[in-house]
């Protein structure tokens, strides 16, 4: 269930050195998006696509069910989670793992037609 989330925590993205405040009632990804910040790739926002995968290296998060195609039970135990499904329970440090992996697109954008 959603919590009112008066309390906010600091989320530090080690890749970019940036941080943002995230409410206890918001997901890490939702909190970032709400402030118009960037750093974690935004995909489905539903724990399904895996592009928002992060490694929480310090701090506590509370996570809802995430796609096992992207986060195994072992991953989850090590703090590898989907940012769209996790809410902070303390200040957080995280490293971004997920990315938007383009298939044919990269080629199409870079080179156009042959």
């Amino acid at each position: 269930m959603e919590r009112a989330g008066d309390e906010t925590f600091e989320v530090f993205i080690t890749d970019t050195g940036e941080s943002f405040r995230c409410g206890a009632g918001q997901t890490l990804l939702g909190g970032m998006e709400r402030l118009g910040r960037k750093g974690i790739p935004v995909g489905c926002r539903g724990g399904g696509c895996g592009v928002c995968k992060v490694h929480v290296t310090a701090g506590e998060v509370r996570c809802r069910k995430m796609s096992r195609a992207h986060v195994s039970a072992e991953d989850e135990a090590r703090g590898i989670v989907l940012a769209c499904r996790c809410r902070p329970a303390s200040d957080i440090r995280l490293a971004v793992i997920g990315s938007m992996d383009k298939a044919f697109l990269k080629h199409a954008q870079a080179g156009g037609a042959r």
């Binding site: 926002r45 539903g46 399904g48 044919f104 199409a108 037609a113």
Partner: protein, 307 residues
């Protein structure tokens, strides 16, 4: 045109992480009606303008995505014929007994080069619409709730050998190519139809097989697409892009995600495709406009996020 053989997409089975929140999404937001549940926990849904018993089946699972997509054929003789033609074309087929899905007759399931499971069936129980078949009203407010989608329309699927899947559908099931995107000699997207719609199935080339990009539902007007966008805003549904216009198929559209990250589309409008038509080709350097005609730029998320 005479519509024989494979008539239309008839159902899609979608995996969800949490059934209850998914039902809020598919019932209250899209406006599908719950029509049954089975012993394995699957929930059956139908759109207000569909006559057969169900078109969407939700199954709770550990990972979202698509279990299978089914097409209705015109009779059991056609089912037998297509089964043989699928085998001849190299597909592995399997007969699934009547009743394995509630209200659905025997199904012929087959695999595809892109790693997706499809199936054909000839019979499904008739439920009808609330308006009936005699002097019907155009619609009833009791069943046109939420976005009030009219029907399940098509899917877009991602996988590597899209040429193989297109060929299977052309050779064994008489589908036709309506539009394609070419990157030089390489076909990167294909739109195929069994009817005279601009597409009943779309495929995009992608490194990973068996991926689900979206299930799409038909709306009655552009105004209804905007109204769907209002519902997306009100309930803070995760949006992907839109409302906008596709160059490909000309659809007026909006994309969003269900609570498990499966993408949905609601759209209005395409054009009629006839068997004598040549396919339309888009070139990779114009891909931006082919996909999103107004912005003319590619949205990374649309092209890369799948379940």
């Amino acid at each position: 045109m005479a519509m024989t053989g494979v008539m239309r997409p008839g159902h899609v089975c979608i995996r969800v992480l949490d059934m209850e929140e998914s039902l809020v999404h598919y019932k209250d937001r899209l406006g599908l009606q719950e029509v049954d549940r089975d012993d394995s926990g699957r929930v059956y849904l139908k759109a207000w303008d569909e006559r057969d018993w169900f078109s969407v089946v939700l199954r709770e699972a550990d990972a979202p995505g698509m279990d299978f997509m089914g097409f209705k054929v015109d009779g059991t003789a056609a089912l037998d014929t297509f089964e043989q033609r699928l085998k001849d074309a190299g597909a592995t087929t399997e007969r699934i007994p009547a009743g394995e899905l509630n209200h659905c007759g025997e199904r012929v399931r087959f695999d595809s080069p892109t790693g997706h499971l499809f199936e054909l069936y000839a019979d499904k129980d008739y439920m009808g619409t609330m308006m009936g078949l005699v002097n019907p009203d155009p619609w009833h407010e009791e069943c046109c709730t939420g976005m009030a989608v009219q029907r399940f329309d098509h899917c877009l699927l991602y996988g590597s050998d899209i040429d193989g899947t297109v060929k299977l559908f052309e050779d064994a099931l008489d589908f036709r190519l309506t539009e394609q995107v070419m990157d030089g000699e390489l076909r990167v997207a294909a739109f195929i139809t069994c009817s005279n719609k601009a597409h009943d199935l779309a495929l995009v080339r992608h490194a990973e097989d068996g991926k689900f990009h979206h299930a799409s539902f038909l709306l009655g007007s552009w105004e209804e697409v905007l109204r769907a966008a209002d519902i997306i805003g009100r309930f803070k549904i995760s949006i992907d892009i839109g409302p906008t216009r596709h160059g490909i198929t000309r659809g007026r559209t909006i994309y969003f995600f269900d609570p498990s990250g499966n993408r949905n589309e609601v759209f209005h409008g395409d054009y009629s495709f006839y068997p004598d038509y040549e396919p339309i080709t888009w070139t990779a350097e114009e891909l931006g406009g082919a996909i999103f005609y107004h912005d003319q730029v590619l949205n990374e998320r649309f092209l890369t996020v799948v379940t």
